[in-house]
Structures are given as C-alpha cells and as structure tokens.
C-alpha cells in the first residue's frame, strides 16, 4: 500500500516547470492571459501532474522498479491550480489526485504491464 503524496502548487512552481519543460503555454505561466481564458486563471502543466503520479508509484522503491508498470486511462477531470494542495492516493489498481476540498481532478488505472512488450520495445 503506497502512502498518500501531498503536493502544494504555486505559480512559482509552475513557472519553473515551464522552464524545465520548455512549455511556456501562457495558460500555465501568464496569469493575465490565463485570467481571460475559459479557465479564469493559470492551470498546472499536465506533465507536471503526471510527475506526481510517478513519484507516488515509486514510493519507497528505487526507480528501476517502475519497469513494466502502466498507467492507463489517465484522465484530467479538473484543472490543477496554484495556491491549492492536492493529494495523490490510490490502491487496488487505481490512483487519483484529489484537491484539498475533496474534488477529484485526475484518475488513472495502474497495472503491471506486459513485460514482453517492454522487453521487445
């Protein structure tokens, strides 16, 4: 059973992730632009949120032990926003990310992948 992982999101974190990923979509890094968008404010990069899932999957284990694992049907249900904390939790083949008010923002299925698929590439 993996422990929950708690993440506090900030605009500064999102801007640094934009630098790391070279993803400077203004929805993520420009509050003025994002305020005028349908999101009403900046939202976190999807690939940053995915990084949380890998950290949760790896919990207590060394990175190589992710080999063969698979995240399936990963869906972003709600945007992840700065100034809010989120909890990554799961078990029994599922993982979800939950906002501090209880709203589920992401779900995915976790399975042991096809080792042959990984071996054969």
């Amino acid at each position: 059973m993996r422990p929950d992982l708690v993440k506090q999101v900030s605009q500064a974190m999102m801007e640094r992730w934009g630098e790391l990923s070279e993803d400077t979509n203004p929805l993520h890094v420009d509050p003025d632009y994002a305020q005028g968008s349908r999101y009403g404010g900046t939202i976190a990069h999807g690939h940053m949120v995915v990084a949380w899932l890998t950290e949760w999957l790896r919990a207590g284990r060394e990175p190589g032990m992710l080999r063969g694992l698979r995240l399936r049907r990963l869906r972003f249900l709600q945007p992840v926003r700065p100034g809010t904390s989120y909890r990554v939790r799961g078990g029994d083949g599922r993982v979800e990310i939950v906002r501090e008010d209880g709203q589920v923002v992401l779900t995915a299925l976790v399975s042991e992948g096809d080792q042959e698929e990984v071996s054969n590439g």
Binding site: R16, W17, E22, T24, L27, V50, G64, R70, F76, G121
Partner: protein
C-alpha cells in the same frame, strides 16, 4: 533545458494521421535532474548519487521517470512550438528501462488519431523515449486538445 527558441508553430492544419516526428536525440543532463528535484522535492538518491545508483544496479544516476511526459511532449515539439491554449486531456503510459543521466536518448512520436468537431480538436500521439542502446524507457500515448489555428 534551454529557454524556448523562436520555433515555427505546429498548427492543427499541419497534422495528419501517420505523421511522424524524430527520432531525435536528447540528453537529460545533471542540471535538468537538479531542476526537476528542486521543483518536485523528489530527490531519490539514484537520480544524483553515482554510488547509490550503482548499488542499485544502474551504470550511473538514472533519469527520473517523472520526466517521461515532458520527454514525450518534446518528441513532437522539439522543433516546433505549441500555439497558446492547448491542453492535455489524458494519457496512457508504459514504463520501461530507466534511462541514464548523460546518455543520449532517442525521442519519437507519431500521430495516431485526429478528431475535430465544432467544440474540440482532439489529437492522439504515440510517443516513445528510448535509451542509447535502444531499450524502451517509456511509451506515452497523449490525448491532446489542440489549440485553434490562428486565422
């Protein structure tokens, strides 16, 4: 990773099923890993401690799997920029062999589905990152919502 250069946009009109990107080389450097660890707080010693990485059976510090989605995106946007407004709707990820920091990885992508309606522009891309010796590091299928092309 360097600051984004002035690259041509990857417009919806430029996409078609079967279009391929790469394979292109990419090296995850220690500075990239350091920035990743600073942002996420995920500081497993295998990412930065050569002795610990070797103890765990790796040739050198390993690339954090938390970068797989970033590498997948780079596979199709390495030579292009995304127009503002696109978002990721979903993913499917298979984790493979850990990559080694400093190794030349190979990034590639292929468009596998395009579904455009009045209210959404859905593009599916199958992206692969491979290690220097050709092993699969990760396969990421991205369900993206593409931004509207400028008029």
């Amino acid at each position: 990773m360097s600051v984004t250069k002035a690259l041509p946009p990857l417009r919806l009109a430029d996409l078609f099923v079967g279009r391929r990107f790469g394979p292109d080389p990419f090296i995850v450097t220690p500075s990239i890993v350091e920035l990743y660890m600073a942002i996420t707080g995920d500081r497993h010693p295998a990412y930065h401690d050569r002795k610990e990485a070797r103890r765990l059976g790796h040739a050198a510090p390993v690339v954090p799997f938390g970068l797989v989605a970033v590498l997948a995106r780079r596979a199709y946007l390495g030579s292009y920029r995304m127009l503002p407004g696109g978002v990721m709707a979903g993913q499917d990820i298979t984790f493979g062999t850990p990559g080694v920091v400093g190794d030349t990885l190979s990034l590639s992508a292929e468009i596998t589905r395009i579904d455009v309606t009045e209210i959404r522009r859905a593009v599916e891309l199958r992206c692969e990152t491979r290690t220097g010796d050709g092993q699969l590091l990760a396969r990421v299928t991205i369900d993206a919502r593409w931004p509207e092309d400028p008029e």
